[in-house]
């Protein structure tokens, strides 16, 4: 049973560039959430996708956008990269609906470095 997979593992960009990160949820899951984990901090919620729509959003600017595909996989896009966007980006998946489905399963993350 495949867990949450993310690509790429590492990425180096320069300020002003744009980046796309990808996530495939755990088999059987239909909801994808994205988190940003800066060094020495806990993950911070960016947004959550279900049925190909953004359902919840954290306190992140519009430079952060996403997409969910019919096969439940998801992309996170960040435009006009800033040095402060350097972080580990985590994808988590879950199954929509019941409370017991809440625990989110996390991928290994994409380490994004901005030069």
């Amino acid at each position: 049973d495949a867990g949450v997979t993310q690509s790429p593992t590492h990425l180096i960009k320069t300020r002003g560039q744009q980046v796309t990160l990808r996530c495939s949820p755990k088999s059987g899951h239909d909801t994808v959430s994205w988190y940003q984990q800066a060094l020495g901090q806990g993950p911070q919620f960016i947004f959550q996708y279900y049925e190909e729509e953004e359902r919840q959003r954290g306190n992140f600017p519009d430079r952060f956008s996403g997409h969910q595909f019919p096969n439940y996989s998801s992309e996170l896009n960040v435009n006009a990269l800033l040095l402060g966007d350097s972080a580990l980006y985590l994808c988590a998946s879950s199954l929509f609906g019941t409370e017991e489905n809440q625990p989110q399963h996390f991928g290994d993350g994409t380490r994004l470095s901005i030069l």
Binding site: G42, P43, Q56, A92, Q102, G109
Partner: protein, 116 residues
């Protein structure tokens, strides 16, 4: 704003010592609570969760946590730690789960080092 506080950023213990990691949250409504662990080089894994019922919950690898509603706390405990428990531990809260949606608010994490 809702927040989660973990009192200890770094904890160093010897094997067989007892562990208690503090977690407090600021939110007056219904919450669901989680502890996640991140072993070196691995992804976040769920240790245990509290939704309702018995406030003392048991998780994997001998960990347990107690939900004290009056104190807005959900402390993690283990009677006797092992070297393999060396990891970073995150407390997380899901606020007022409804409609099937959920987002986690995490604490800053506690880095535990266990010496043999």
């Amino acid at each position: 704003a809702q927040s989660v506080s973990q009192h200890n950023h770094h904890v160093i213990l010897s094997e067989a010592a007892s562990l208690e990691l503090g977690c407090n949250y600021s939110y007056g409504g219904t919450v669901n609570l989680f502890w996640y662990v991140q072993y070196p080089g691995q992804h976040l894994q769920l240790l245990l969760k509290y939704f309702s019922g018995d406030p003392l919950v048991k998780g994997i690898k001998g960990f347990e946590a107690e939900f004290i509603k009056s104190k807005f706390s959900f402390n993690l405990r283990k009677p006797s730690v092992q070297w393999s428990d060396t990891a970073e531990y995150f407390c997380a809260v899901n606020l007022g789960f409804s409609g099937g949606y959920n987002k986690l608010i995490f604490g800053a994490g506690t880095r535990l080092a266990v010496h043999p």
